[in-house]
């Protein structure tokens, strides 16, 4: 049997408000400033029916390409069968929040700039490894206290044939 084609079909839980987060929306949602090129997360908010993203964009992340009075235009990649199309959608602010995927990078850029600036002033060379992110290295040798932490000997059970 074919599914009904209503735009909000199957969104009973997706657009539902969180537990004990119903009611008036806190104003910082509206105070945030978005500029072109900002990366934003899209999350549909069922309390505001205007300017809602289609269910397919819920949970997606995109770039802002346009800013209007109460909404932003976002470019989101959508997979349509064999290819990915960059789709342009208009979403109101209540369904948008700034993405944290970029902040790690942007903070590192700032920190690196400071390090490089300080190095330039002092005349030292900055090793590139300091500026790069390092993967988590294996743990160094360290002492483990066994005061309230008695070691437990683990051994496999002796093999027994159980009928």
């Amino acid at each position: 049997m074919v599914n009904s084609k209503g735009i909000r079909r199957g969104t009973r839980y997706m657009f539902a408000r969180d537990f004990r987060k119903h009611g008036v929306e806190h104003l910082s949602t509206y105070y945030r400033v978005y500029s072109r090129g900002d990366i934003v997360d899209i999350k549909g908010n069922g309390a505001f029916q205007k300017g809602m993203p289609h269910k397919v964009y819920h949970g997606r992340t995109g770039r802002v390409f346009n800013v209007t009075k109460h909404a932003v235009g976002v470019i989101v990649n959508k997979r349509v069968r064999t290819r990915v199309i960059p789709k342009r959608i208009n979403v109101r602010l209540e369904h948008i929040k700034p993405s944290t995927c970029r902040i790690d990078f942007l903070n590192r850029v700032k920190a690196n700039d400071r390090v490089k600036h300080a190095a330039k002033e002092s005349g030292e060379r900055v090793p590139q490894s300091l500026l790069k992110r390092q993967p988590k290295a294996p743990a160094l040798a360290h002492l483990v206290k066994t005061k309230n932490n008695k070691p437990e000997l683990l051994a496999p059970l002796r093999f027994e044939i159980i009928a």
Binding site: G23, Y31, V33, V67
Partner: protein, 295 residues
């Protein structure tokens, strides 16, 4: 009355969602606040200034502020308790004082942003509807009125504050419909009546009529006025002088405040203190036990 199920049981509290804090306190109307403070996104970081007017029992607060995520920033403030500096020592929450407070706020803020020369506002208050017009290069400073939870009634004191700010030279979008002296039936505005109210004519008329009627009641009601030497005749003069004094020097006076650090909670005990506490308690209880057994 049989057995009634307890409504406020554990399950009720587990599911209960509180309203926003300032709504719980009954202080903020969020529907109004959203429309007053939120700026269009295509204006990015341009601040949206609002003129906040609040009345308490004995004071009037007038502030100009804009909103940020971290909290609102107040750029200028004026209180009715500053009016004694300008000669108004009594009647600090009446219509005339409200106008004076608004005027003080406007002149103070314009001086701070160096527009007090270009935008002088209405020098002689005549109650007429006045809206600031652009003069020169700089656009007039614009703010929107924020009443809070007060009711919008014709002739309310809140609008006296707004009139004071508008006459001071700040652009506030408004119409004369809610001013004292506006007749909603005939849709006409009586500027003369408004002007009289701004200069406290209604107060001085009451003073004279009460004095004739009942001397004792007059002495009781207007005791502070009599003590300050304010009579029905020189009331208007007092407000006129206050307006000129405000325009002459609207700067705020900074009071030196001694900051005493106060603790609100008990200080955490150190390890030694806790150990000694246990041992003294133990010694005391053993002592009591020994006493009991001795009996």
């Amino acid at each position: 009355m049989g057995f009634v199920k307890v409504v406020k049981n554990k399950a009720y509290f587990k599911r209960y969602q509180v309203k926003l804090r300032r709504r719980r306190e009954g202080k903020t109307d969020y529907q109004a606040r959203k429309r007053l403070t939120v700026q269009d996104k295509n204006k990015y970081n341009t601040p949206k200034y609002r003129l906040i007017v609040r009345f308490s029992k004995k004071d009037i607060t007038a502030q100009i502020a804009y909103s940020k995520i971290e909290g609102d920033v107040v750029v200028a403030a004026a209180y009715a308790h500053e009016l004694p500096r300008y000669g108004v020592k009594v009647g600090l929450t009446n219509y005339a004082a409200a106008y004076a407070t608004g005027l003080l706020l406007a002149r103070r803020h314009l001086k701070a942003i160096k527009l007090d020369g270009t935008y002088k506002g209405l020098e002689q208050c005549n109650g007429e509807f006045y809206n600031v017009e652009q003069e020169g290069d700089a656009a007039p400073f614009k703010a929107v009125l924020d009443i809070g939870l007060s009711r919008t009634t014709t002739g309310a004191k809140i609008f006296a504050v707004m009139k004071g700010v508008a006459d001071g030279g700040i652009e506030i979008p408004h119409s004369e419909t809610r001013f004292f002296g506006y007749d909603s039936e005939s849709k006409s505005y009586n500027a003369e009546a408004h002007r009289d109210r701004i200069f406290g004519k209604h107060v001085s008329e009451y003073m004279t009529s009460l004095k004739e009627e009942d001397e004792d009641a007059f002495k009781r009601h207007f005791s502070k006025f009599i003590a300050a030497g304010v009579t029905a005749e020189n009331l208007e003069e007092m407000y006129k002088k206050a307006h000129t004094a405000i325009r002459a020097n609207p700067e705020a006076v900074k009071k030196e405040k001694k900051v005493e650090k106060k603790r609100w909670t008990a200080k955490k005990l150190t390890y030694a203190e806790r150990k000694s506490r246990v041992s003294t308690k133990k010694a005391y209880l053993l002592h009591l036990k020994a006493q009991m057994e001795a009996q």
